[in-house]
Each structure stands twice: as C-alpha cells, then as structure tokens.
Symmetry: C2
C-alpha cells in the first residue's frame, strides 16, 4: 500500500485497482453533493463579518470628509476609502480608485478601455491592432485568462516557478511590441499559493517592454490573506515601478471580497496619478460613482490596516483547519504513491495539485461522478488547455470540515483510480 | 415692464437695460454659491429614505429564495430584485438583469460590448465597422450623448416634439444600416419632461431598422417619478417590441437612484431573454455578481410597486414646491417678456427652457459670474453644441426652496440681461 505505484508490478497494480475501484463504488453509492470548485468563503466566515451590516444606520453616519455618501458624486471614491486601501497596500491614497463589489470588473474595464480607447501611453485603441499578445503565468487564475481570451488576445503561457513567473521567459517575451501585458497574482498566487520572491517582483517592476503601454496587471487578491502563520509584508509595487522608471506600467487590484462579503464588498485599482487621470476621463463617461455608502460601511468596519489584519486572523482560524485537512489527505494518501506534488501554501484560497501527466481530467470526471464538484481540469491554463493534463485546483473554504473530509477522501480515491486505470495494462 | 422686449422701442430697451444691469450687479454683490447643475436629490430626500440602512442587520436577513446574498454568485441578480423591477416596469422577472448603483454603467457596458464583441444579432463587433451612426433626440441627456461620442459614433440629432422624437425623421434615418441605435427617455424626458405619446412609443417599437442589431436604448429613468398629480401608467416596451416582431431590439434601463440613494442604489437592464443570455455570456467574464446585499436591502425596503409608488409620493411632496418655484419665476418674470418657452412637466427632474436664439450661453455665463451654477449651455445636444444656442436645463431638486428662490431670481435677471444686451443697439 505504501509503495509508489510506478514501482509496483502489474500484478500488484491489478490487485490495487480492484480494491480502489470497490472503494470508489462504495463512495459513489453514498450520493454525496460536495463542492470544492471555487474560492468561496464559507457560512462561518460570512457570519464572522456580519456586524458590518450595522455600522451605518443613521443619516448622520453617512457623511465622510464632508461628502454625503448617499448622494451622487466622487467618481474615484470616498477619500476615507482611498486612505484605507492605501494603508493596506502601502501606496498613496491619491493612487487609489475605489470600485464596486468586484475587482474583476476593474480589471476587465481597464482592458476593455485599452481596446476601445487606449491606455495612457497607447498610440491607438488596441482594437485597431492586428494582434495583441498577453503573458499568462500558468497555472493561473481562470477568470484572468477568460478576460484576455474574450478580447481576442493571443495568450502566451509563461511557466510558474516556486518564486513566481519564469522571469527569463518574461524578459525575453516583452521585447515583442505586440505583447501588451501580463497577469500576476504576486502573493499566494492562484492556484499555487506561491509568494513571488523579492527578486521576481524587482525584475517585474524593472521590465523594459517594447510596448509603451504594457500593463503589469497586479492582482493582489490575497495581500493580507494568511491562514497559517504571521502576516507576510510585501513591497509597494507602485513605488518599485516608479523607482525603476516605469511609473505608469502597473495596475494593482485588491478587494474586500474575502475580508467582508464576497457578494457585497468594495474593490480598488491602485495606479499612478497620471494613469488614474486618464482612466477617470474614460470612467466618468461610464459611471457617476460606485456605491459610496458601502465604501463608508467598509471604512467604519475595517478602520485601518492593523484592525483589518486582526480580522484576517479570525478568518484564518476558520479556514486553517480546512487547508490542513486537504494537506493531510494528500500527505497520507497520495504522497507515498508518488502520484502528485503540491505546494503547502500559508495563505490564499487554494491548494494546487500537479498529478503525473494525463491524470487531471480523468480524476475530476471520477470526482464529478461521485458527487464532488471541483474546478474544471485545464481551467488554470490559457484557453482551458493544460498541456500535460495534470493541474488540479482544490478550493477547500466553502464546505464545513466534516464535508471536506469526505470530499478529500473521494478526491484521493479518484486520483488513485485514474492512475491505476492508466498503469494497469488490462 | 410687462411688454415683450421685442415690441419695445430702443429707448425703452435702453432704460430697461440700465435697470436690469443694476439689479444684476446687486445680486452679484451678494456672493452667492448656488447650484442647479445636476438632477441631484436634496438632503431631505436622502433623509426620507435612510430607513433603508436598517432593514438588513442580521445574518439570517441575508438569505433570499435560498441564496445567501453575502456570498458570490447569481450574476444576473437576486430573483427577488428581478421580481421587484419587473413589477415596477411591467416586464417579466426573467427579462431583468440587476446591476450596481448606476444604470448608466449598464448602458455604457451594453454599448461597449457591442463595440468589442457585438450584440446578439451583430455580424461583427462594431469596432470593426468603418462608421457607426446613432440617433440622438435633442434636447436630451448629456451623459447619453457622451457615451456614444466616447465610442466615436456619428451622432445625428433628431428634433424633439411635444410627443417625443420626431418619428418621421427617425423612421427615415433607420433605413441606413450604419444607424445602430437611438437614445430614448420615454417618460419625463431629460430635459423637457415630455411623456412620449402612445403613438410615438408604438412607432418606436415597430421600427424596421436596416441594421439587424439596432438598439432601442430605453432609459426609463423617471418611470415612477411624478412630482405633481397621479402616477401615469406606461406600456411595457418589451411587450410592444415583441408584438411588433422586434423582440431583441430594446434595452430598457431603470434604477433606484432617485427612489432611494443616488450614490448607493441598484439598477436594472430589462431586455429579451435571448438578449440577456447573450449579454450574460459577456458579462460573466467581467463580474461575478453586482452587490446582492444591496439588492436585498432594496427588496426589503421597497417591497413592491405599490409600496414604491407610496414612497414616490413622499419624494413628490418634497420636490413639488421646488418645481413650482421655478415655474412661478418663469411665468412671472419671463413669460410676459416673451424671451423663452418651456414645458410644465409633472414628473422627472428638470425644467427645460428654450430662450430666443443665441441667449443660452450668455445667460449661463452671467449666472456663473453671479454664483449660480447651471448645466453648461449646449450640454443637452450631441457634441455639446446647441445649434440655436437656446436650450437651458434647470435642475431644481438639490437646493432648499429658499436658495432656489434666490437662484431663480438670478437666472431670470441673467436671461433678461442677455436678451437686452442683444436687443439694444449700443
């Protein structure tokens, strides 16, 4: 049982296959309905922060820096909300544009406006260009890739390393003027949970792209999202880019989706003041302002960086056991069989499993059949195609631990079964 | 004093000019700071609806139709929010997509996606077309015109009549396949306050545009916004278009910006189920969902059409005196002089004044100098150019009545002065 599958004889494998298949059929017969598909906070986390519903109840609560948050105005957001995000991200309040419930929308709109109107240093809207290429460190975030795919970008996969995107590859590719940007999740990258090394961050900030309007899309989605151990400080990417002579290259994004409510938070785009002026000219045509009452609600509830970090430690206490459960199952049931490898992240929302080649799709199909829904195989790669069919993203935050135990048991059995089906020469 | 300026002798006009100029200098010396620029609700209206801050305070309040509004999901909005808007607009819940605080954003995004991806019946994205023409009934809403201008549309002015856009002109223009859409504010049109006649609405719904993806942009911003007299029922434009064989031609928009909080309301786009499916495929790349907690807050606060209409009667009681103040000043001080004409709207947010040709810019410059800010002259026409320099939009809802009295006094003096400067041959 403890020997790696690839070291076993056909006879041993066949015996194992029979056993695992029986186990699988037994689990399937339970008719479970479990979901580990998305990085969705669980009920307990939502309840943890529901006091935010009560921080703003009277008309007089609604005034902030002399602005009545209830009325029209303040396109770029309440000054107090800018100060809060600047405190968390380490940038300046005047570099912040406050959005609605989804930082994804701010990212999409930045790229959409690049296509229809152009960014600050674009000679023309990107829709007029014959081709737009985009760098996609992979495995990465499926929703990022869907944005650039939706606009017809030619997406180029950049390998991920344990210190972030392979920078030799990135530096070579940005010499092509058709390469207009790159997706980055610098802290607890989705899905690997890697923190980009200081060296990688420095090299990204110092890129010398041929395109004058190259966009470093810096999705700091998990900037304060440790679930295990102390808060890991991070450098302000806006400062690093400015110091490297690239003040207008970076667009940083963050949100409270996994701090307060996923469906009702606030978001931020932090970028140079010159970029913001350009974007505000375009965004002022689209919207009068995002929801300022909700901005104020968040300011009153989160207060500042320290107070927000304290809240994140309470989230951590809720989700840490879930990640430990995932890692324990993998360690106990998969590691000895040498069927896959994975990072052991200390923050973020995922565990990324890399199976032996050609097992991901089959494993997830078996999971689905047994009532366990996971992120689709391939989703973490551009165009949804994982070249080695091996990456599987586990999102353990939504189910309660008891359900997660079951789901992970199913997952491990499915992975073993998928491997055995391949190894046994029937 | 009571004789129309144009019937007076030069001598009389000169005497009047001296008097009015003195009066103007006196008013200017007061150093007022008054604003009638935008259709912005006043403080009293915001306080009226601030109970909405308290309708949702506990975790268990946050579940609606089995959906936890706090978490991710439900791209097109909470079912209960769809039912609320369907009740108000007379359409079906499944035809509603619920947005954030700004219906403007839904309009912009619809046109933006038409340019980058195409609408349901577009052969290709509009950005690939040599030219896109757009019909702009004018005077109209400046923010509408800015959207189509921003995307480089060739905007064609359609004259407004007391029953809505001149339909003979519209019907002729839509025979051009480059004409891709029209802006409409069917009830209490911005700025004239006109309600489109049944005949106009019927002809719009029955248009036979050459472009298969022609968009009837139906901004029902003031659908239940009577401030004087009873609620005026309106026909469901989606049904009318469907019955006329144009099921996918119309995109209707509305919001709670002038029902609850301008800066923190919810919005809706109502369109055919086929259009919604198409738009959801595109919007699903941009956002996971708009703020569902705020949607639920609105559902609990507004409840249904009847309850919402009762609230609108309270808004009416606040703003009616403001409109009456504007109309009284115009009747008393401008009508006898025959310097301008205007509608007497019973709903909406504006009074639209049409001066004798060539007086609008000068009148507003004089107002500005005396400390009264108004919507810029020309703003109600495509490209900000009013061909006869005569339309002025008065937005009386923000200032308290006492301030409005002063502002209208200034306005009337400025209009008289502008006219006299022109008529007197100095």
């Amino acid at each position: 049982m403890e020997l790696a599958y690839q070291k076993r004889s056909q006879e041993e494998l066949l015996r194992e296959l029979t056993e695992v298949r029986e186990r699988y059929e037994m689990l399937k017969a339970k008719g479970m309905q479990l979901n580990m598909a998305r990085g969705k906070p669980g009920r307990e986390q939502l309840d943890l922060v529901s006091d935010i519903l009560r921080v703003l109840t009277e008309p007089e609560d609604c005034v902030s820096d002399g602005v009545d948050a209830r009325n029209y105005g303040e396109l770029s957001g309440l000054p107090a909300a800018k100060r809060l995000f600047a405190d968390i991200l380490g940038c300046r309040p005047e570099e912040c544009f406050i959005g609605g419930s989804a930082s994804l929308q701010l990212m999409y709109d930045t790229i959409s406006k690049a296509f229809t109107h152009g960014l600050l240093h674009s000679g023309q809207p990107w829709c007029r260009l014959a081709r737009v290429k985009w760098l996609c460190p992979a495995p990465g975030y499926d929703r990022h890739f869907r944005i650039t795919q939706s606009f017809g970008c030619e997406m180029i996969t950049v390998p991920m390393t344990p210190t972030g995107p392979d920078m030799d590859v990135v530096e070579a590719l940005v010499r092509d003027p058709a390469v207009k940007g790159i997706w980055c999740v610098p802290k607890y990258s989705n899905p690997d949970g890697i923190i980009y090394s200081n060296e990688t961050v420095r090299r990204l900030a110092s890129l010398k792209p041929a395109a004058p309007d190259f966009a470093l899309m810096w999705d700091n989605a998990y900037c304060i999202h440790e679930f295990d151990g102390d808060f890991e400080p991070f450098a302000d990417i806006l400062t690093l880019c400015r110091e490297a002579g690239n003040p207008d290259m970076v667009y940083e994004f963050a949100s409270t989706s996994k701090i307060t409510f996923p469906g009702a938070g606030i978001s931020v785009m932090a970028t140079s003041v010159d970029n913001l002026h350009h974007m505000e000219k375009l965004t002022g045509v689209q919207i009068i302002s995002y929801d300022k009452v909700n901005q104020l609600r968040h300011v009153k509830y989160l207060q500042n960086r320290e107070h927000t970090l304290a809240l994140m430690r309470k989230h951590a206490a809720i989700i840490r056991p879930k990640f430990r459960c995932v890692l324990r199952h993998l360690e106990d049931q998969i590691a000895p069989l040498e069927l896959a490898s994975w990072q052991k992240p200390k923050g973020g929302y995922f565990v990324s499993v890399n199976t032996l080649p050609g097992l991901a799709k089959r494993t997830l199909a078996l999971c689905e059949e047994a009532g366990v829904t996971m992120t689709a195989a391939g989703a973490t790669f551009p165009y949804g195609v994982d070249p080695t069919d091996s990456n599987i993203r586990i999102a353990p935050t939504l189910p309660p631990v008891a359900e997660l135990e079951q789901a992970m048991e199913v997952f491990c059995v499915c992975l073993r079964l998928a491997a055995l089906e391949k190894l046994v020469q029937e």
